[in-house]
Amino acid sequence: MKIGVVTFPGSLDDRDAQRAARYAGAEAVPLWHADADLHGVDAVVLPGGFSYGDYLRCGAIARFAKVMDTLVEQAHNGLPVLGICNGFQVLCESHLLPGALTRNQHLHFIHRDQPLRIANNRTAWTTAYDEGQVITVPVKNGEGRYVADPATLDALEANGQVIAYYQGNPNGSMRDIAGITNARGNVVGIMPHPEHAIEDLCGPGTDGLGFFTSIVKALVA
């Protein structure tokens, strides 16, 4: 079982995502932005950070990395992909997920432990949770406000594509949306950081590990 973690120039939470994959029992495989080869991984995490310094728009340059050509193609064929924070931004810029992430409404970077309500436990990355379960994972971003036009928001909610809502909105995200999935349920983007809640010693507990155990279970099945 191999979970690839892409490193772009400016990726920061790539080692953390690798650690989370290992804690869930998978082999973590580092992937490099300039290498189009996914090296046979079974799933991919696009980690948090400031790829390309967040210059132009968050994720806007990373979307043109060589690795993304392969990734987008395979995601359309069902490859499980999880985008966390900057990774979520990259997924939106790549049009694998709808909407966009913009500057926080209060204009500050914010880092806090954030309660989330799981709204869809049927995706490749969320089966370990119960629907309606409240989990606490850290949120940390400057441009994490989820926005989309009303029709898109309505469709996301009607189709059950919102996977998690904020309990206490930290950044002004529309309809309290913290994470979404594509229609097929293999591509998930989430602004908070489940990979930073996988052990009691560092972080607010182990609530985030479920994203990684979910995918391991899905791939074994």
Binding site: P9, G10, L12, D13, R15, D16, R19, G48, G49, F50, Y52, G53, D54, Y55, H108, F109, I110, H111, R112, P138, K140, G142, H193, E195, H196, L201, C202, G203
Partner: protein, 742 residues
């Protein structure tokens, strides 16, 4: 025409603008003597930079010598003099850490000044061969409600966050202090710590004739010219900041790539020597590497990649453009270094080489514009024994009576916890990523930042910075010792063993004899206390000229103490964990409110004497706190400092929302017991099952231990004195900074 060496020889009588560059008559005379001719414009710029207070430590050197005579112990691998000290932490690992000031740039341009403060200290740590793994930022501002604080604070906090977050370095601690003494001169100190295998330590010396001098990182621009010689080495006038172009502009993305490229280069053992470019830019890097290696060097300035093609040699030498490093590489390794740089998108350019002899020659399109012995810049600078004088007002300050003590009450407690220096720092720290890298065990609001170094063994470190300008104003010797004692206590409270120190000494103008006396007293106090506590000084920084319109800041030595954990899993947090645990006060409380937060917050009073220093007691307290952690006896431990017992109780209660029932012992008045700032104390909570074992350990070791009560309920209740619900306390504690800064 270009002022070449040839031209300088041909025009010996040309007037040079040395005074405008901050050089004194006698300093210029020594330059003439060293060179045997007039300097070129570029040489003059280099001397003015290297002989500035900031680079040469010319006023502080004679006092800093005391730190070198502190016994080094068996852990220090590299001491003062390199870019940062290196300490062996076992398991084949070493850490390097240092705190530095970026005060004046942050006042002139808060965001960029603070951001590049982080960038600069991170490169100092990287230069040693280490991967930077955390930052901390001790900050001091004018009054919280002053309009200029509203100008500088949000920018400084955003700048620290903007740069540090983008580098992926957790910010695990620091300080935020308000006092009108810093009104025209905020203090922005930045600390970074890095980790490396002991065999990866890098030094700066350029050796080996034929080796190539490679400039890595950003292009060189006109930003930051005159940063150290003018901005950092002179005081502000009353009309406030000007000189904005002297502040550098940071690009954290480039720094992140530079870090990754350098670490890959270090791992492949491809460099012979390396030096970061910080204050003083290429001037400092070329000089320091060649001087340290006692080597000759030739550098071609026309090969330096520029942002603006019209820059002249003097500007290129003086530029403080950020995100640059200078590496010395063998010709064989050069292609490998260039390939790694290219992989990370870092510009790398061979700009010179190590040559025979002992001269540093800097060429511009083949013509020498600099020809000097590098040691004359790096080591032969002036050294001053500045006149010193005890401040004329110190006796009257120390003999001032304190305001009349009030009764302790719920109202007083609520006012105190809401006061700017005691209230919650959440508004600030939520703008920092405190967990990236996944190894942050403790961060704000804990006593110290605790970071895991090894996932396999749990090896880790604790780090705290402290400093109290009011105490140091009242007694510089004691004030510096109290700063060390508090940081030492904070580290020990988490359970870590304190092993080493870094310091940032923020003072007024060294040309003021009263400031120089404060500096001499503070360094003497700090050196003695470091020797006693067996925590050698590994390095640090002196920041002089922190004064506005002739008025110096309160002398503010900021001391960082590094502690070591064999296993961070045994760390002791500061918040109460369980209902029904026993509360114990360790140490003695005396009537000590001189320079206290109460006197300041309630009466704007600064007078009397600071709390008494008892280093033997600090050592004993630390031993007990560490033993308590090792044997798993402690639920929580919190050091007592600003705001005294009352503040410690509030913070320990609010952390997890667990209240306390306290009965104060007979003797001193409840007010004094709650708000006195006597040193050498800590508040601990101990599970009932461990109470006897712990108290017996205290009495066996001779540490006073007073039973205060139990953790209980959802209020803080001090019998016969006050009862306040935690919800009400939390509102008071949390509301202040958001109300001021949005």
């Amino acid at each position: 025409m270009m002022d070449t060496v040839k031209n300088a020889q041909a025009t010996p009588d040309e007037e040079m603008p040395y005074a405008d560059l901050g050089l004194r008559d006698e300093e210029y005379a020594s330059i003439l003597e060293l060179l045997g001719r007039r300097p070129t414009a570029s040489e003059l710029a280099m001397y003015s930079i290297m002989w500035s207070e900031h680079c040469s430590y010319k006023s502080s050197k004679v006092h800093l010598k005391q730190f070198s005579s502190i016994p080094k112990g068996n852990r220090m691998l590299v001491g003062m003099g390199e870019n940062a000290g290196v300490v062996d932490v076992g398991e084949g690992l070493a850490v390097t850490f240092k705190v530095e000031s970026h005060n004046h740039p942050s006042y002139v341009e808060p965001y960029q000044g603070a951001a590049t403060g982080i960038g600069g200290i991170v490169r100092d740590i990287l230069t040693m061969g280490a991967r930077p793994v955390l930052v901390m930022d001790p900050l001091r501002f004018g009054d919280a409600d002053h309009p200029d604080t509203l100008r500088v604070l949000p920018g400084i906090v955003a700048g620290i966050g903007g740069y540090g977050n983008c580098l992926g370095l957790p910010n695990v601690g620091g300080e935020v202090v308000f006092d009108p003494t810093y009104q025209g001169n905020p203090l922005v100190n930045a600390l970074c710590l890095g980790v490396m295998p002991t065999d990866r330590i890098q030094l700066s010396a350029a050796r080996g004739v034929g080796n190539v001098v490679v400039l890595l990182g950003a292009k060189t621009g006109r930003d930051g010219i005159g940063g150290v010689s003018v901005l950092a080495s002179a005081t502000f006038e009353e009309d406030g900041p000007a000189n904005r172009p002297a502040v550098q502009v940071g690009d954290p993305f480039t720094e992140k790539l530079l870090i990754e490229a350098c670490l890959e280069i270090f791992d492949a053992k491809l460099v012979e020597g390396i030096q970061d470019l910080g204050g003083a830019g290429l001037t400092c890097a070329l000089t320091e590497t060649s001087a340290a290696g006692k080597s000759g060097m030739v550098a071609h300035l026309d090969r330096v990649p520029l942002r603006e093609a019209t820059m002249d040699p003097t500007e290129i030498l003086a530029s403080e453009s950020q995100e640059r490093m200078l590496a010395i590489v063998t010709p064989d390794n050069l292609p490998k270094v260039l390939a790694i740089a290219e992989k990370w998108g870092v510009i790398a350019t061979a700009i010179g080489e190590v040559v025979e002899g002992d001269r540093l020659q800097i060429l511009w399109h083949g013509e020498a514009v600099v020809d000097v012995v590098p040691g004359s810049l790096a080591d032969d600078g002036p050294v001053y024994h500045r006149p010193m004088q005890r401040p004329a007002d110190l006796d009257s300050l120390q003999s001032q009576a304190l305001p009349a003590y009030p009764e302790a009450s719920a109202e007083l407690l609520l006012q105190m916890v809401a006061s700017p220096n005691l209230c919650s720092r959440r508004w600030v720290v939520e703008q920092y990523d405190r967990i990236v890298m996944g190894n942050s065990v403790l961060a704000w609001p804990e006593d110290a930042g605790v970071v895991r170094l090894s996932e396999e063994t749990g090896l880790g470190i604790a780090l705290a910075t402290d400093g109290n300008g009011r105490y140091t104003r009242l007694d510089p010797f004691a004030g510096a010792q109290l700063a060390l004692a508090e940081a030492y206590r904070n580290v020990a409270a988490t359970g870590a063993v304190p092993i080493a120190v870094t310091d940032c000494l923020n003072f007024g103008s060294p040309e003021d004899p009263e400031v120089m006396w404060q500096f001499a007293e503070a360094t003497r106090g700090l050196a003695e206390a470091c020797a006693y506590l067996e925590t050698p000084v590994t390095g640090g920084n002196v920041s002089f000229y922190n004064s506005t319109a002739g008025t110096p800041i309160n002398p503010t030595p900021v001391v960082g103490v590094l502690g070591l954990f064999d296993d961070v899993a045994r760390r002791t947090p500061m918040g109460f964990r369980e209902q029904g645990a026993t509360l114990l006060l360790l140490g003695d409380t005396a009537d000590e409110l001189g320079g206290s937060e109460w006197a300041w917050a309630m009466h704007r009073h600064l007078g009397g004497l600071p709390p008494r220093v008892d280093l033997a007691r600090e050592k004993l307290l630390a031993e007990v706190l560490i033993a308590g952690s090792r044997d798993g006896m402690l639920d929580s431990a919190h050091d007592l400092s600003d705001g005294g017992l009352a503040q410690a109780l509030v913070e320990s209660c609010l952390d997890k929302g667990i209240g306390a029932r306290v009965v104060l012992p007979a003797g001193l008045s409840p007010f004094v017991q709650l708000f006195s700032e006597s040193a050498g104390r800590a508040l601990v909570s101990v599970p009932r099952s461990e109470e006897l074992r712990f108290t017996e350990m205290c009495s066996a070791r001779g540490l006073p231990c007073t039973r205060l009560g139990v953790t209980d309920g959802t209020a803080l209740a001090v019998q016969d004195v006050l009862t306040v619900g935690l919800d009400e306390l939390r509102i008071a504690y949390e509301a202040t900074l958001p109300a001021l800064f949005g």
